[in-house]
């Protein structure tokens, strides 16, 4: 059984600042981290590896430095890692990304995997669209908001999902695509010995040729949506507090003054 976990490197949003003059992200002083939701997806994959001995494949799409998150996955116990990286993929929106990843997953597994895991969303774009998009391109059933997952050796699965109205329990049969929430089991830590192994491990880079991608469906060309501008919303003022001092008329007067200036 082959399980793919898709992970993304994102800027650590706790520290992101926007240059007020240019409205661009100031990358200096901002660490790149594994998308926190993806860490929970990885944990589900690792748990399946512990339970069933599945082959666990980590896939990430991004610039060369995104290899760092793949090494984290390898350090935790993933078997193989693929970095989907090429200038041709630059500027991809969620549609082009979903297409590209679905091609890369097929290449990495040599066919269709039994299970593809995603974090519910990435903390930089917050779209939550790529997991569902990949399920469309791979033509696989989709389960979102997964908080617990078990799979039997004959590929029957049972998941619990967190929804607004409570928890849903869903049963089915693999293959499937699932997106995992932060209610799931907390991610494990990579042992130092694992980090040492991962530092030397091979990461296969997949470009547009390796995944036999259709050139008009990738990168900026393949993206029907474009980011036009990015700007921080105007900072709201602190407002003004008008206190009740025991006199209704005075209070009404004060409010009227505040409204009409």
């Amino acid at each position: 059984m082959t399980v793919v976990v898709c992970i993304k490197q994102v800027p650590d949003s706790t520290n992101v600042r926007i240059d007020p003059r240019t409205n661009t992200l100031m990358r200096e002083g901002v660490e790149s981290i594994l998308n926190p939701f993806d860490a929970f997806a990885l944990e589900q994959g690792l748990a399946l590896k512990d339970a069933l001995g599945v082959r666990l494949v980590a896939v990430s799409m991004g610039p060369p430095q995104a290899a760092a998150v793949l090494r984290e996955a390898l350090a935790c116990g993933a078997d193989e890692a693929f970095l989907v990286s090429s200038r041709a993929f630059g500027g991809a929106d969620t549609l082009a990304t979903s297409y590209t990843l679905s091609r890369a997953i097929r290449t990495a597994c040599g066919g269709r995997p039994d299970l593809v895991l995603f974090g519910k969303q990435a903390i930089d774009g917050d779209t939550a669209q790529v997991g569902p998009g990949v399920s469309e391109f791979l033509d696989l059933p989709l389960v979102t908001y997964v908080k617990a997952l078990s799979v039997t050796p004959d590929a029957a699965f049972r998941v619990t999902t967190s929804m607004d109205d409570g928890e849903h329990v869903i049963e089915g049969r693999l293959p499937a695509v699932m997106t995992v929430t932060k209610d799931a089991a907390p991610p494990r830590f990579a042992p130092l010995a694992g980090a040492m192994r991962a530092a030397k491990a091979k990461i296969t880079v997949l470009d547009e040729k390796a995944i036999a991608a259709d050139p008009i469906r990738i990168g900026l060309t393949g993206s029907p949506t474009k980011v036009v501008t990015i700007f921080p919303p105007p900072v709201k003022g602190g407002g003004r507090k008008i206190e009740w001092r025991g006199d209704a008329a005075a209070l009404a007067h004060e409010i009227r003054e505040a409204i009409h200036g």
Partner: protein, 533 residues
């Protein structure tokens, strides 16, 4: 079991210099550097005006040209500050104190750069793992152990518990920085302490972004002494323009101070409110903050920097020029000496220590530390005396006096008991709106990026909680004031410890008047996340 030839604990300038130098001198064995920060440099902080002597010995011309610094010192001054509005430049500065042409910038960034060189040369650097214990066999250090991860607050393993791992090493190099826990434990256990107990200063620092760049201001530096502390207290500040739009402002307070009411962060705010500093940062906004201790005890406080199987490099070995408050270049030189000793002896635990010590003594940095051996001593007899002595040391290029001088107390022993009303008087001074215009302590803590898993055992262990009540009566809980990160606070009549604020500076374990704080390691990867300090 992980096996390596050399294990280096701490990825700061000293540890990384050891790794780079080992690979440069052709050492074929495995070299592993481990740091408890989440990334290289995240626990590295300094002013920093860097004496380039160390880089010249360690790096190639080409590598020096690529050092990640934006400015070199081109204008420097020393000022004595009398008060909020009055200060005076010092007319004569001995040539040895001058820093013209020295790179000025972020040591965090420099550490990252050094790590990239070390890795390129074949050393391995791992971050996010705390080395919490040395392993000894028959009195020889034979490696170390990493800390567990995934323990709950009550100490029980959580579902993602990670066990401790053992690393066997022929030589373990401790490059933990000032007040390192493993270093201090080794010094204590092996009787390596110097003739005088180590003494520290706590330094706090902000990176300030100016509203508009000031053309040509990059490379301007200023050192000050005097106000906001009185003449009985050892302290001084610095203002470094690291580029045309960014200024590092910092203050270092000697931890042998006697006044229990002193509040390091409030002194820092007061410092920024002075005219002397204000003109450099007006309209600017702080974007980063950090704190760290500096070992200031000088030559006589240096421990013997080796035990069987273990070497101590950098700040942990007390290698700091106490007159210039410069240690980065000496840390690098000590790393180079350690590397040479390891290579020459083929990492032989029995022979490497003495060889390292001999090579260290031959470095220029060591000679510098020896030359200014008594700068700290004068201050142990009160600051007026210290200032006079420092003046003489200044005039004699650090040589005077020539014999070992000064008292031998620990920083925890110097504090005097509180007089009634003293805290209230201090609070009245702190209410000044000019001071309160600067970020408060918690805002600064936020800007340090510090982060700790909340559900883990508290790493600041009170030896006897009852002592804290005695301390409250006698000293008014000075930890609530000397901690630069608001870890300690009094709440509902008892001391509370918000360990997740901790910046790993170790001031509490140094200055607690009842020596009641035992610093244990939080989960590896936790702590400050400096990126520009």
């Amino acid at each position: 079991m992980i096996e390596t030839d050399v294990l280096i604990v701490g990825a700061g300038p000293a540890g990384l210099a050891t790794a780079i130098s080992l690979k440069r001198c052709g050492f074929a064995g495995r070299v592993v550097v481990i740091d408890k920060g989440c990334a290289v440099g995240s626990h590295v902080l300094s002013g920093a005006v860097m004496d380039p002597a160390g880089f010249r010995e360690l790096l190639t011309e080409e590598e020096i040209a690529k050092l990640p610094v934006e400015a070199h010192v081109n204008r420097e001054s020393f000022r004595f500050i009398f008060g909020a509005k009055a200060s005076m430049p010092i007319p004569w500065v001995p040539p040895m104190m001058q820093a013209h042409g020295f790179p000025v910038g972020s040591l965090t960034k420099v550490a990252r750069y050094l790590a990239s060189i070390a890795e390129r040369l074949g050393a391995e650097v791992y971050t996010g793992y705390a080395v919490t214990e040395l392993i000894e066999r028959d009195g020889v250090v034979v490696g170390a152990r990493t800390g567990e991860k995934g323990l709950a607050a009550d100490g029980r393993p959580k579902s993602n518990h990670l066990a401790s791992e053992e690393i066997a090493a022929k030589v373990t190099v401790l490059a933990e920085g000032g007040a390192g826990v493993l270093t201090d434990r080794l010094v204590e256990a092996k009787g390596l302490a110097g003739r005088r107990p180590q003494s520290y200063a706590i330094a706090v620092k902000e990176l300030i972004e100016l509203a508009e760049p000031v053309a040509g201001s990059g490379g301007t530096i200023m050192h000050t002494f005097g106000y906001p502390v009185n003449l009985w207290t050892y302290g001084g500040g610095f203002v470094y323009h690291v580029s045309d739009s960014r200024v590092m402002v910092g203050y270092a307070l000697g931890l042998d101070y006697i006044d229990a009411t002193l509040d390091v962060h409030e002194i820092f705010r007061r410092y920024k409110a002075t005219g002397a500093v204000g003109r450099h940062i007006s309209g600017g906004k702080a974007v980063a903050y950090g704190a760290k201790v500096i070992p200031e005890g000088g030559f006589y406080a240096m421990p013997r920097p080796h035990a069987l199987g273990a070497l101590i490099v950098g700040d942990g070995a007390g290698l700091l020029d106490g007159l210039r408050i410069k240690g980065i270049h000496i840390a690098i030189e000590s790393g180079i000496a350690a590397a040479a000793a390891i290579a020459e002896t083929s990492a032989d635990a029995a022979a490497v220590g003495e060889r390292y010590h001999a090579l260290l003594r031959a470095t220029r940095g060591y000679a510098e530390v020896r030359r200014v051996k008594n700068v700290h001593g004068g201050f142990t007899r009160g600051a007026p005396f210290g200032v006079a002595m420092a003046g003489l040391a200044w005039a004699t290029f650090g040589r005077f006096p020539f014999w070992m001088f000064g008292r031998r107390h620990r920083d925890s022993e110097t504090m005097r008991e509180l007089r009634p009303g003293a805290l209230e008087a201090a609070a009245r001074c702190a209410a000044d709106p000019a001071i309160r215009a600067f970020p408060d302590r918690l805002t600064d803590v936020f800007m340090s990026g510090t982060l700790h898993e909340e559900d883990q055992p508290c790493h600041l262990h009170l030896v006897d909680p009852a002592r804290c009540e005695a301390c409250e009566r006698r000293f008014g809980s000075p930890c609530t004031r000397f901690c630069p990160a608001e870890v300690y606070r009094r709440d509902e009549g008892r001391l509370r410890i918000d360990f997740s604020n901790c910046l790993h500076c170790k001031t509490c374990r140094i200055k607690c008047p009842l020596e009641n704080v035992e610093w244990r390691f939080p989960q590896g990867g936790d702590g400050p996340r400096y990126t520009m300090m």
